[in-house]
Symmetry: C2
Subunit: 357 residues, 2 copies
């Protein structure tokens, strides 16, 4: 039997946003405590965590004090400075591991890794300067999208190149950061698989969800996704293959484009994922608990879905719809963020639309 | 439209046990903070609350400081000292209100209230002394059960009287506390209704669950309960009638005995209830969120059940079964209690057994 992290043990979580908040709640459900490390004040996760450290990722003393209070460390976002990780890993095991982080922190490394696994990705090229970009546009063509290799999320650090004339401005938008050019993929829709793997090597994946984005931000996820049975199997096998190749421990989100030529991997997130929020109301064991189970060495839940769900993000002013939404059967999940800003994820709702179909 | 308690508002919760813990998590889901008031150290609710005050209910300064930080006050147990309530209600509204508390804090008052509503209860008599007890046993007969009027739970403060010869010992067990004699009810099984009412007078009830007790402690709740359609309707109407009569705000647990002569009200708990824990995995909106919605002036969830569930309490050493349980599809809910004691509720598991039947 797997040795379970015992009741009362503490999981350190890097990042105190909504994902850290929902991870903390899931940990509490299993009798575990959490300690949040977050540079920003009034972290959403702070309201439901046992301890919160408010400090910068270059504050070695704070990192050390944090590391000494926790039994294991996990994170809610992938852009954690390497030096902080170097220090923390001397104090407690970090899950998911460094290889997964290093892979997903850099779009070029990630795409290369996926290709080497034999998986399909968008065509891409490493862009260090205007010459690289011109050459790559010659091969990949337009439209294409120029992205910083590191630290991008929710459409930030990206510039579309609709025609060669857009190249200079796009490169200027990168502000000198190493970049990658990606060709557009002609896809019918995007799906994602939320998969988990624990230290024993067990893998469990949830049914794929179908994602709709607006302005680069996830708007809705619908489960089940429109997929043929063989596409569904392919999607899950792709996720399992990535999990195994990285000797991964935790939950991972794998975004896939559905095309007539098969499934193309868009992005891998080494953490719980917005497109997995539906599991909170569609499964007995949600992605947050699944992640905690994995990093704490517990057996994984099977990922069984009991209901069909539509998840909708509440972005910026959408949160003003809460009075109306609270009058429906939607399950509301708010993140406790005091300040509403355009494009800011304030919460989400899950609508259970029927038994699992 | 109802004025909702806004995101970032604070709900004060009297009592920091597992019910306070699960209420705190539900409040967080709606973007609300909680402040726990609890005399005991290391309160289970403390791990997931924004603030915790560790102080006695006769510490007026602590109560005052607590009351000033909160927008409304609720509680996880009904045996709150009256003087603490007198002080707190000058600082913030208390839901459910004083009438509900006064009614449920005293078994004699409660049974009298239920009878005056025209509901069936076990036969009962007020017992102040041996003479009262002798007379009551003459009317009610044996077997019967002598209970303290106040501060009893989970079988504490109770003595069975199987024959008249047990009367003296039973009275001695009450240690001079005012008592009530209750006749035994010949019931086939016990069910409970978890109902909710908000300040607008809206009422929503969950489907009745069927309860099995062992040694006076709830062991399992199974939903749906074995009830005919008309019994199910009766059960819900009884709960709704009690909620209305008390001008109640919050969630209430109503335990009912099923007998060939109809449903007999056993007990009313003015709070979230152990027999409603199944709602966490059987409904989009669980009893804890429903209670928070009610006391915060939000619209109630409909109480719709998407799945059939069996809830099992983990009592004392049962918690040692967690490694095995974690290897199944059961949803595990642990309370983070460090010390295992016989009869102590350590957690519960919900097994989703299929779509709502």
């Amino acid at each position: 039997m797997t040795k379970l992290l015992p009741v009362g043990a503490t999981i350190g979580i890097l990042g105190g946003g909504q994902l850290g908040r929902m991870l903390s709640v899931a940990a509490a459900r299993l009798g575990l405590k959490t300690h949040i490390f977050e540079p920003g004040a009034n972290a959403p996760a702070g309201d439901v965590a046992h301890l919160v450290t408010t400090a910068s990722y270059d504050d070695a003393a704070a990192l050390t004090a944090f590391g000494k209070t926790v039994d294991i460390i996990t994170y809610e976002f992938e852009n954690i400075p390497t030096r902080a990780l170097d220090l923390l890993e001397t104090l407690a095991p970090i899950h998911p591991g460094r290889q997964a982080l290093a892979t997903s922190q850099d779009r070029l490394v990630e795409k290369t890794f996926l290709q080497e696994l034999g998986l399909q990705t968008a065509p891409f090229a490493d862009i260090a300067n205007a010459g690289d970009l011109e050459a790559a546009l010659g091969t990949i063509g337009t439209p294409a999208i120029l992205k910083t290799r590191r630290f991008g999320y929710d459409g930030k650090g990206q510039a579309r190149i609709m025609a060669a004339g857009d190249a200079d401005q796009a490169l200027a938008d990168m502000a000198g950061a190493p970049a990658i050019l990606e060709g557009f993929v002609n896809f019918t829709h995007e799906v994602s698989v939320i998969g988990a793997r624990n230290p024993s090597g067990d893998v469990a994946c949830y049914d794929p969800g179908e994602n709709v984005h607006e302005a680069g931000i996830l708007r809705t996820t619908t489960v089940p996704a429109k997929l043929t049975p063989s596409q569904r199997t392919d999607a899950v096998l792709i996720a399992a293959r990535i999990l195994n190749a990285l000797d991964y421990v935790g939950v991972m989100g794998v975004e896939l484009f559905v095309t007539p030529q098969g499934l193309i991997v868009n992005e891998v997130a080494p953490r719980v994922h917005n497109s997995g929020h539906w599991t909170q109301n569609g499964c007995a064991i949600c992605q947050f608990e699944q992640h905690i189970r994995a990093v704490a060495g517990w057996p994984l839940g099977a990922g069984t879905r009991h209901s069909d769900v539509v998840m909708e993000n509440l972005i910026g002013d959408d949160v003003d719809r809460v009075p109306e939404l609270s009058n429906s059967d939607a399950a509301i999940h708010l993140y406790g963020k005091a300040e509403v800003r355009a494009g800011r994820k304030m919460g989400h709702v899950n609508r259970v639309v029927g038994p699992a179909s």
